[in-house]
Amino acid sequence: MNITFEQPKIKESPNYLNIRYGWRSWLLTTDHKRIALLYLFSITAFFMIGGAFAVGMRLNLTSPNGLLFSPETYNKLFTMHGIIMIFFFLIPSIPAVLGNFLIPLMIGARDLAFPRINLLSWYLYIIGGIVAVAAVASGGVDTGWTFYAPFSTTYSNTHVIMTAVAVFVAGFSSILTGLNFIVTIHKMRAPGMTWFRLPLFVWSHYATSIIQVLGTPVVAITIVLLGLERLFHAGIFDPKLGGDPILFQHLFWFYSHPAVYIMILPGMGVISELVTCFSHKTVFGYGFVAFSSVAIAVLSFLVWGHHLFVSGQSMYAGLIFSLLSFMVAVPSAIKVFNWTATMYRGSISYDTPMLYAFGFIGLFTIGGLTGLFLATVAIDVHVTDTYFVVAHFHYTMVGGMVMAYLGGIHFWFPKITGRMYPEGWARFAALVVFVGFNLTFFPQFILGYLGMPRRYATYAPEFQSLNVLSSAGASILGVGYLIPMIYLAWAWNRGPRAPANPWGAKGLEWEKSPSPPPTFNFDEMPVVTENAYNYGAAPGATEAHG
């Protein structure tokens, strides 16, 4: 006689994922956690589109004469790679996904201050994204993501206006997200959650939001001026019409350099959380780390002229911008030193999120220090518009921001989904990403220093071996990104159930809210009675890791 056992089914407690089903419950949701997931899936799609352009570029550069594409097509590839990755992946990545999901949870609120505006910002992002993809489908654009005038306003015969509209609309999404965060952090903190008890993730998002609200309108106006000149020959940037092309660069970089910090500051916030949690130790110098975020946000608006050192900007302005650019290194270094000091004598565990944090600290340091090379006027003259610059900003944006994003996604995956991911695969993927990244971009520092210019479809034959190495690294990096997509998708459905706080982490989102959280985050209003990262007082932390 066969006895069949039936696995007892335990009814899941109601949470934000199982409370309602159907497409309307997602597309009309005002729940910050569901909107965060809408962003997660959409930015992943744009990451893959932007990545596909990078694959095309790296394939083409395996041969000095260009393996696959004409120079005109290559121009469109790097332009669309930049536009999609910056405006539709990097800028919304951590704020719109992790920030959206976590800020109300971290400060003890039921939702963001303006839930409907939050949904509106996702729709604006999607409308912008669809227009950008339509621009690609109808032939693309070849100006570079920087849209420099007068090429963009007068000479380019590609879809400049359509792409500019895409960026313009997506910009409003970014402004609304920043506005929502600022009001939420000011007005919706739980009782006892004073400013100096806020998690550093929240501080870094506050600083990011300031940049989004103050900077993005300027690029929006710049795009309108670009459109006026292209459509109506208004004479703002084109010297032939009485304009000044350097004015475009000033206005563009007034936003776009701070935008670099929109991309990296949230990543720094993630790293602060990871380093303290996996060192099981309170953060070293909380106040310094918190205020360094604000200092970076303020200083980020004073350095844009270092993009104009060789473009005809006054040499005296260049000197001032050079000095100010050096000053940004101070708050950035404060963060790196404080993370390192936090780890010192900590009880470090090498879980996947921490591996990404290690990767971030090393790669961001290289990216940041090469930024000092570029802030030095004399060196910048030598390496302007070479692969040195490309390597530098990929070390900060990809080595920094994408590492932090992946670390954050892994860290909060149990909270978001209520499931655990396979740790072995995750550690392996983190290693593959680190190796692939360095193989891709370190050779580009050398190529740039030797004089290989960026944005060309062809190059001198002596640069081939380093270019092939870079392309080989890119294929490893691509695999490194695909592996997490596969196991995270698997784990979402099949992974073992996660407890409320699998890492023994401090913070309201871990200690006061189940995994996954209910729609309004907390069963009862949390009251905060201790400082952030009070790991010394964490029950069980010493037994588990001591």
Binding site: H186, L302, Q313, S314, A317
Partner: protein
Amino acid sequence: MTHTIVPAKVYVGVWAVLIALTFTTVAVSKLELGEYNFIAAMTIAVAKATLVVMFFMHLKQSSSMVRLFVVAGLFWLAIMFVFVLSDYLSRGWQPIGQWW
């Protein structure tokens, strides 16, 4: 949160002043004042913007925190102008001769 109710006559009064200032702008532009034409036009424009922000956008009744954010926005605008002008105004300067 409390909202002060502003009587309609205040809005009408501000609107009337804005219209009057618009006519003043046109009138001043007809005068030959040299570079003072520009200064006069900008002064009137700033006065009009201030009225709009204070009354129509309710800054007069807002908390000091909201006022701080408005001042921050204007300060950031000033940063943009000052640094862009630091380029434009110093472009014609000649390099200092060898001094050692």
